[in-house]
Symmetry: C2
Subunit: 486 residues, 2 copies
């Protein structure tokens, strides 16, 4: 009996029938996450109801050296939850209890399958919300947010998931259970919490998450500014930040993205705009009022030809609807598209956008730009039609070339969508061998057999014994060959 | 020739004579850090001038399996820089260059020996400062701050060192060099930066630090409030925070601490006060003005009988002088003292302070309390006279009993001074075996020979091969006995 079959038998014995999927047609349902062109049918899918079940499943995987992959809502855009053909996909969506709401110390404790927006809903009666707000917040899970260190429009001011998670419970790849992080301001011991956040499930399965709540601001104002092009909108962004104002969000959309959003949501963005900025200010009412005056003036100076302040929540929601629907809306103007995710220093914004436009003109591949302008986090949408031979390949090339542009301008290959299965090959562009080997040594400390989401993040997954400690001084072997170093 | 002698020979060959100390009398100068009752004369002291020298020294230590300990200014209060008798003490105080000041993106890059306050001095012309402000900021080094994840009075609002360090260069315990952290909002790969911050030099030697600057606030107001006792001052603290105000700092001193501060600095705290609160508000002028009115009212309601707002920087400085001199000032009223450091939930403040007072009355050991009231970080100063037989032991007992109180009330054994050599034995009170073993596995990933600051943090330092993966499922050995797992 092969190893996966052995694990399957044990899991069937441990879990109720409704929690175990082995039927090929149903397994296929889980073949991809939000990165739909990477597909692998998992060997086994389990939908545990409890932490103890997760620990038992992982322990069985460890015993038989069978890979496992955790999956939340499956909305990730880098293939972090891409299954393993010979492995177990552990779906956490049934662990959806809110375990504690403690507004008095600004904390909520949730199971990993809890939906992002449900944390805010639980906190709302007390005047709080959960700040990280991916565009997918209505469906994405907190466990997935932790795995990918998710961002969102308001992370410009409030920071990414890592800044809002105070502690997690983790099932380690040997089936053990640990708690990482505490509520103390500076806890003793190693802070391994930050390492696990954004590790994309390669260090274990998160089974409980304590998050920090953010007090609702006294006032919120949302401004829509229309420009003739992205150069002017970029200049306005720089001017606002240089004035010392940190808006809750500054989002930019270019002409093609506006066209798509209009087609999908009738959000009423100004006609003829080559770019729009959405600037949201929040805080004490007096500050918001004063900042709005400055932002308005700076947008005008940068060439804004329409400035519209949302009069109420309905208008604000409409402005955001266009932006939040951004990716899906592109489906209205193109049968297929790739969502790219890269970061550049804000100062490089005009130059990189021009280079993307040239790339698009040279290749005939259309690119729509929707992005978090405030922190230079680009989301170019590269459009193609998979029915036309060659288009997908060309789109992939353009998408890769955009990442090259980001790196060449001192940026990063991912802003908030993660590495997953999609970008592992790009990691050497940002890290030295010594940097990557140090990460792999930590991975091996947690997971010596490499069974936790293998093939993700690292460009050259190695057996743990193969990672060279090559950075050691060279004039004599510090260890006899074959010695145990662990 | 023994291993240390071999390393000494190599270091003499690599470094100039002025950088190598082997003379017993001069070695003794380095026998302790700020935790003066823990003393070990180091085997060798080196004062490198460059990163390359540090890497070479560590590589030699690795080759000969000789322990090394990094030391900045030696102001740490938990013995994190306590030397090793058979090891090398690497003093970083000559690496004191400010490598870059980049106000345009709010960054400063420094060598590890740079003094905390010098970062603020470098940033001041641009309207910025470095927020973490230990009371020792005039002499403590950034490298030491990173090792201990140092806090300070203003960390209530602005957070600890970990929140202000964006990247470090690290010489790993094999002599390799890596960079951890980036300036991207959500970098790919593992975030190992947070693990190294606060690891007290057990994962390597930090050789460069990129810090985030904080914009100087438009307005600052400092309020001194006198109460009859700590109960009232604690109630005022709770009321201020419950009102949704986050002051830059809320510091409390009890009667004995006030007496010491007055004796040392003539800071003019109100006569007859059983406790004082220092509340500092900063931010936009309009907010500070509005918040001051609320804070004043809440202090009055809680029983403040004197309220004094600093009229100018000189008065503000005088108020802070009393607080900052707090520890040293105690020398005026007691020949010896232990600085304890623990955390409790703010709500437990009155109860724990009463328990400390009872402990003091029962044992006859005087305890002065100076602390960061806003985040529940206590600094009880336990007074004794080492010339009186038995007093030191009794003081140690009282100091330990205070930590027990903290843990019993759901707090932590250290707020900001670290574990070091002082508190390793207390770690099991806060962590399970599985938690501690996970940390040790990470330590071993970086340092399989256990040469980087051994004996610190972990209560039972083990050879790396001895850490059980005991949390694995038990019904069958996953590894054959003696197998390599790394």
């Amino acid at each position: 009996m092969d190893a996966l079959a052995a694990v399957t038998d044990r899991v069937r014995a441990l879990l109720p029938e409704r929690s175990v999927i082995t039927d090929r047609a149903r397994l296929r349902t889980y073949e991809c996450d939000g990165l739909a062109h990477h597909r692998v049918v998992p060997g086994l899918v389990v939908l545990p109801d409890t932490v103890e079940q997760i620990a038992a499943i992982v322990a069985e995987c460890a015993r038989h050296r069978v890979p496992f992959v955790a999956r939340g809502s499956g909305t990730g855009l880098s293939g972090g939850a891409l299954p393993h053909a010979e492995g177990v996909l552990i779906v956490t969506s049934r662990l959806r209890r809110i375990l504690a709401v403690r507004p008095e110390d600004e904390r909520v404790v949730v199971e990993p399958g809890v939906i992002n927006l449900d944390v805010t809903r639980a906190a709302a009666p007390y005047g709080y919300h959960y700040a990280p707000d991916p565009s997918s917040r209505q469906i994405c899970s907190i466990g997935g947010n932790v795995a990918e260190n998710s961002g969102g429009a308001h992370c410009l001011k409030y920071g990414f998931t890592a800044g809002h998670v105070m502690a997690v419970d983790l099932v380690t790849p040997d089936g053990g259970q640990v708690t990482l992080g505490t509520e103390a301001p500076d806890a003793p011991g190693y802070d391994l919490l930050g390492t696990v956040i954004g590790a994309e499930g390669t260090l274990g399965v998160v089974t409980a998450v304590t998050v920090r709540l953010t007090r609702d601001p006294e006032a919120v104002t949302t401004l829509l500014a229309a420009f003739t092009g992205t150069d002017d909108a970029g200049a306005a962004t720089s001017a606002i930040l240089a004035a010392g104002i940190v808006p809750a969000a500054i989002e930019m959309m270019d002409a093609l993205a506006i066209e798509a959003a209009e087609a999908a949501t009738a959000c009423g963005y100004p006609a003829g705009a080559g770019a729009v900025l959405i600037v949201e200010l929040d805080g004490p009412a007096a500050d918001v009022h004063a900042e709005l005056a400055v932002v308005t003036r700076l947008c005008e100076r940068s060439g804004a030809f329409v400035l519209r302040v949302a009069a109420d929540d309905t208008e604000r929601e409409l402005i955001w609807k266009g932006r939040r629907s951004g990716f899906a809306a592109v489906g209205r103007i193109s049968p297929d598209y790739i969502v790219q995710d890269g970061v550049i220093p804000r100062t490089a914004l005009p130059e990189v956008l021009r280079a993307i436009a040239e790339l698009s003109a040279d290749t005939g591949v259309r690119v729509a730009n929707v992005f978090h302008a405030g922190d230079g986090n680009l989301h170019p949408l590269v459009l193609f039609d998979s029915a036309v031979p060659g288009q997908e390949d060309r789109a992939e090339e353009v998408s890769g070339a955009i990442l090259d542009l980001c790196v060449a301008h001192g940026g990063s290959i991912t802003g908030e969508h993660g590495v997953g299965s999609d970008k592992a090959r790009y990691l050497p562009r940002m890290f030295t061998d010594a940097d990557l080997d140090t990460m792999q040594l930590v991975r091996c400390a947690f997971d010596p057999d490499g069974i936790a989401n293998p093939g993700k993040i690292f460009p050259t997954p190695r057996l743990c014994g193969e990672i060279p400690r090559k950075h050691r001084a060279a004039d004599g072997p510090a260890f006899p060959a074959g010695a145990e170093i662990f």
